[in-house]
């Protein structure tokens, strides 16, 4: 964590959602640097660029054009230097199949996009203040879905 700054990356094809995400972090009083990419292909290109600093937490939308979130998750869990990034699934839907599959593929948290801006802000704050090293070791299906 350079300079105590937390690097956060969001992959989401929806412009409005990217806006809400940035605005929420603007209101959170934590030193963060937020980057966004527009889809799965862009995400994988970004992560494999040599000149970037790897994010601490990746927020991953599932339903994206070109390459969806599930494929991205599988791919980056196979790449050694990417597989330790904490992955938060950030999706509109919360179908049982998606939850099950992303958990099996090694995502850390499943976050359903809230309907309310204040809730969004509080939830994101909770996610980034979690001690991921500790959280990962005790991960189970019950605390996988984040509900506030």
């Amino acid at each position: 964590m350079n300079n105590g700054q937390m690097h956060i990356l969001l992959a989401d094809d929806d412009e409005d959602d990217r806006l809400f995400f940035r605005e929420a972090f603007d209101e959170i009083k934590i030193n963060t640097k937020v980057e966004t990419v527009n889809d799965g292909v862009e995400l994988m290109d970004y992560l494999t660029r040599p000149d970037i600093t790897l994010p601490h937490i990746l927020f991953l939308d599932l339903n994206m054009p070109r390459k969806n979130g599930m494929d991205c998750l599988r791919e980056l869990k196979r790449i050694d230097y990417l597989k330790d990034i904490a992955v938060v699934i950030y999706s509109t839907s919360a179908s049982d199949v998606d939850i099950e599959e992303t958990f099996v593929q090694g995502a850390n948290v499943y976050l359903k996009k809230p309907n309310d801006f204040n809730t969004l802000r509080k939830t994101l704050e909770a996610v980034i203040t979690t001690n991921w090293q500790y959280q990962t070791s005790g991960l189970n299906r019950d605390n996988f879905i984040l509900s506030l």
Binding site: D14, D16, D17, F20, E23, N63, T92, S93, S95, K113, P114, N115, D116, F117, N118, L120
Partner: protein, 593 residues
Amino acid sequence: MKGKAIFTTNFLLNGIFVIALFILVFTSSVTYKHTVVINESTELLVHSYQIQIQLERLESFVKEAETGQRGYIITKDPSFLQPYNSAREEIKNPVFTLKYLTSQNPQQQQNLDSLLRLVNLRFALLAASLDIISEENSNKKMLDENMAKGKNVMDYMRIQINMMVDLEVANFNKHQKKYNREISITPVFTLILFIFTMIFLIISYLKIQKDLIIQRKTNEKLLISIESIKHAEIIGEFGISQWDMKTGEVSFSDNLYALLGCEPQSFEPTVANYLKFVHPDDRHIVSDGRKKTLENNANPLEYRIIRKDGELRHFKSMGKIITDTERSKLHVGIDRDITQQHLSELALVERNRELENIVNELDSFNRVASHDLQEPLRKIQTFISRLSDNELAKISDTSREYIAKIKTSANTMRMLIDDLLLFSRANKIEKVFEQTDFNILIENVRQELSQTIEEKNAVLTVGHLPNLNVIAFQIQQLFVNLIGNSLKYCKPDIYPEINIDCELIQSNDYPILNTDAQKRYYKISVTDNGLGFEQKYAETIFTLFQRLHNKSEYPGTGIGLSICKKIVENHNGFIIAEGKPGMGSTFTVFLPE
């Protein structure tokens, strides 16, 4: 049972035949023996008679000689000597015959010897008398003496002859006595045998008569069976083929010909001829089937037939090997025309495919509802939430009111989507049944609804509930909806009281459980003291989107009770509602034991 009757018949008739044969042999041998005995008697009689005749002849020859000699002595006429001389010669005949006749009897031989000695003596005396006469000075005294001696010898001879005759008679009598003794038993025997034969004859007659009746009845039954099978074949659209696996002989029933579109028995029933009707692409199925039948692992065959008139039909053949003691193996085959069934199956498959398409469409609708509809809605809600209080204060009251209405509508829409998703999930067939304690389920429900229960000061009373094999999360949803309903439609002036009770009941006590078999159900009722409803709405409230109250008074989507009904149906149960306006309502769930 029939087989046993026929077996005893055979046994009985065989027995009677053996006994009859025995009686015949016995009677024949007895008759033969009798004939032999009678022959013996006759021979013996003739024998005695002959002996008597010969003895008489012998005596008469002696007398003849004596008479001749006497005439000569008186008359001195030599012509009287002629019978005397001839008698001397001719006497040799009876002597010879007698010797022959008595050769088997030593006693008679002895007697005969004595007799012949007397005869010789008599002739010697006759000769001596003639000698005396021929002398010149015939001694009258010597002649008298001689004559007297001769008379004595003659007397002895007669005695001897009588003795011999008596002996013959005695012999004959002895034989006759023995014969009588033997013959006297025979009539009794014959009578007994006759009676026995009669009895056996009658038994055989009755038995055969009875068997004939049974056979006639069996024949009638057989005829009826044959007729029934013929009709059954026509009704059931099947034909019967018989195949003697030992001789290779094959026979087809009339209806099998009819199914092939031919006149009965219009061609020779052979496998090759049958194969001509089988669709060329399916002939291997029938040929392989026959091979498998020979190896004793035959399966039903399905193949196509081209009838004589060219029509394509679908056939199904199955068979069974009947093993008989006499005819080692008979294969009986049923060949069914399943064209109709086949077409229905095809239609069913087509219908299934359509249904699958519909289900898939529903699935994609679900995806649309769960994701694509939610996304814009979520954004509307989020954007509204971005309008801070400061900003709201700057706009007009009317605009603020509009924004509030947008917010309410968006919330209603969210609720609708969520409920619809719940309803469609209740439809989905991921039925994982597990043994579940309903008491724990109700506790979970109480937890879930705890906030509302506290707010309304509601009292939830729960009786003892059973353990049942159910889809746990669905049953929990059921009680959330039912209890939630009671909490929602409560009367404002009194605290809600909700009672949950359970009892085990018999299905035939409740007409609503229209099941044929008698089954046991758990009847679980949720009763409240809330607003209630008019009984005429008891059924419509379970219909999707049906509401009894104004939205502004009681917000809701009209989906909750539909979900309840769906869940209960998933468990093969029933749900009914009873209500009285202002008095409360009771929802009763019946779940099979």
